[in-house]
């Protein structure tokens, strides 16, 4: 009996559970519980100096106590009520008035379990969000689907503006990719056509035998190739000996020649320190700088488009001839201006080089 009373004291008497509307708690039940618990508490305070003995007394009294049946009945009702309370979804419907401070935790937890659970969930979510905010990867992972959708939508709604914004990036990339694949195509065809024939029907026959479409061959013929600049550079000092230009807009030819020499020296020192090889071409966009090295001078040409077959060989040949004829002059170059008329016959044809040249 005492155990039960104690429980009631701890749990039920401490709270007056008043419902706002639903569900209805029978006021008689509450009053009966309160009264009974109060009486029992008084009884316990005066009659219970030895709890262990009282315990056995409780067991003995269980069957004969006339109140027990009523109390059990009340407890059952209270239990049912609490069950319905637990199923209440919105906590606003429930008002809890605390009437005592002792031992209220189990009851509160019991009553507010769903809210505690929600708080726990919310706390977990906040912690997770904070972690995502501080973790760059997680943040990117969280934001990227939204950003992707926004971009997709923006592209659909304002494609002109988007295209304009992206043009500098995409345009250049496409240009480079096209040039690259054109170069590949040209190289492939060149490779297959090494020994091409001049006579038309034979040429068509060769194309047919080698499996090249005439349209591809015609395209190859039509690909633009241009030599924009030509620099003859003193090998040791990097100083400019002669410069020819297709456009005549270049004013820093001497500086460019020296920079090219410095880049070559740097690459040589840093990446090829004990090798005979040196930097022989630099690519940027669809432009290329081809460098041929002679004993006294370098020949560097800036070309655009697809290099015709055998162009490098021609560069080497002209440079060799230049050294054969004027090697001594090239070697003794000190940076004083020279009248370059004598070398023009060897250099000028390179500026006008195209596929048909031979």
């Amino acid at each position: 009996m005492l155990e039960l009373e104690q429980e009631i004291c701890n749990e039920y008497m401490i709270y007056d559970v008043v419902t706002a509307g639903v569900p209805q708690i029978d006021e008689n039940v509450i009053m009966a519980i309160q009264q009974h618990a109060h009486e029992s508490a008084m009884h316990q305070a005066t009659v219970d100096p030895h709890p262990a003995e009282a315990d056995t007394a409780t067991h003995r009294q269980h069957e004969s106590d006339p109140d027990l049946a009523l109390l059990q009945e009340l407890l059952l009702q209270a239990q049912q009520l609490l069950d319905t309370e637990q199923s209440i979804e919105t906590p606003q419907q429930l008002t809890i008035i605390k009437s005592d401070r002792r031992g209220r935790r189990p009851m509160r937890e019991f009553l507010l379990a769903p809210e505690y659970q929600r708080i726990d969930e919310l706390e977990a979510r906040i912690a997770d969000l904070q972690r995502q905010l501080h973790d760059r990867d997680a943040l990117i992972q969280m934001l990227s689907p939204a950003i992707s959708r926004a971009i997709a939508q923006q592209v659909q709604e304002a494609h002109d503006e988007m295209a304009e914004a992206l043009y500098p990036v995409i345009g250049r990339t496409i240009q480079r990719a096209v040039t690259e694949s054109m170069r590949d195509l040209a190289r492939r065809i060149d490779h297959m056509m090494r020994c091409s024939m001049r006579m038309f029907f034979l040429w068509r026959l060769v194309l047919w035998i080698r499996g090249i479409r005439p349209s591809d061959a015609a395209l190859r013929e039509a690909l633009p190739f241009q030599v924009n600049e030509l620099f003859l550079i003193h090998r040791e000092s990097g100083l400019l000996i002669q410069h020819l230009s297709a456009s005549a807009t270049l004013t820093d030819a001497d500086l460019i020649a020296s920079m090219l020499a410095a880049i070559r020296a740097y690459v040589q020192e840093s990446f090829l320190p004990h090798s005979d090889h040196s930097l022989d071409s630099i690519e940027y966009g669809d432009m290329q700088i081809l460098v041929e090295e002679g004993p006294a001078a370098l020949l560097a040409v800036v070309v655009q488009g697809v290099q015709p077959a055998g162009f490098r060989a021609i560069l080497r040949q002209q440079l060799t001839e230049l050294h054969a004829a004027y090697g001594a002059i090239l070697r003794s170059f000190q940076g004083d201006p020279i009248d370059g008329a004598w070398m023009l016959p060897l250099l000028q044809p390179l500026m006008e080089w195209h596929d048909g040249s031979a």
């Binding site: 090998r235 000092s237 990097g238 001497d254 410095a262 740097y266 940076g335």
Partner: protein, 170 residues
């Protein structure tokens, strides 16, 4: 136009790039950005009514002359050896740079720049040492401050004048 290649050499952080920037662009920066490899710039000098294009090669400095890449020196018509007047070691290392530069061409026009003059007094012991080194190896010393723009024009101008008529390179 007459062109001449001139190299700037010296230990790290002595102020080669600062002198180069002061001379070419007339600017100076307090922040130290170590040069990687070599930088090239051109500056036109007026030498006795003639124009001379100085092609300056600003090289990367190391602890001493042993890290200097000799391929950067090839074909140079002259050189500026830079030392830092606040660091004795950089002044004493000038000797090694001079030997290196004169090995191929003993008559190569050289100039020594005693830089960061704004950080020392003119009678500082380091200044005296710099003068002694210059005298010993017969290379003219110019005291300079890239920071204040002192002695910089004078340094390159006097070297330029000697370059026009010197006909030999490394």
């Amino acid at each position: 136009m007459v062109q001449r290649k001139v190299c700037l050499v010296g230990d790290f952080a002595v102020g080669k790039t600062s002198l180069f920037n002061r001379f070419v662009y007339n600017r100076f920066s307090e922040t130290y950005q170590s040069t990687i490899g070599v930088r090239v710039q051109r500056k036109i000098l007026k030498v006795r009514d003639h124009e001379l294009a100085l092609i300056l090669w600003d090289t990367e400095g190391g602890q001493d002359s042993t890290t200097l890449k000799e391929s950067y020196l090839k074909g140079a018509a002259g050189a500026v050896i830079v030392c830092d007047l606040t660091r004795t070691g950089t002044i004493l290392h000038c000797e090694e740079y001079i030997h290196l530069l004169r090995r191929e061409n003993p008559a190569l026009p050289l100039a020594i720049a005693g830089n960061k003059l704004d950080l020392v007094s003119p009678d500082h012991a380091h200044v005296t040492v710099a003068h002694q080194v210059a005298q010993l190896f017969q290379a003219p010393l110019t005291l300079s401050s890239a920071n204040l723009g002192v002695g910089v024009e004078q340094l390159f101008q006097s070297l330029g004048e000697r370059l026009v008529h010197a006909q030999t390179t490394i």
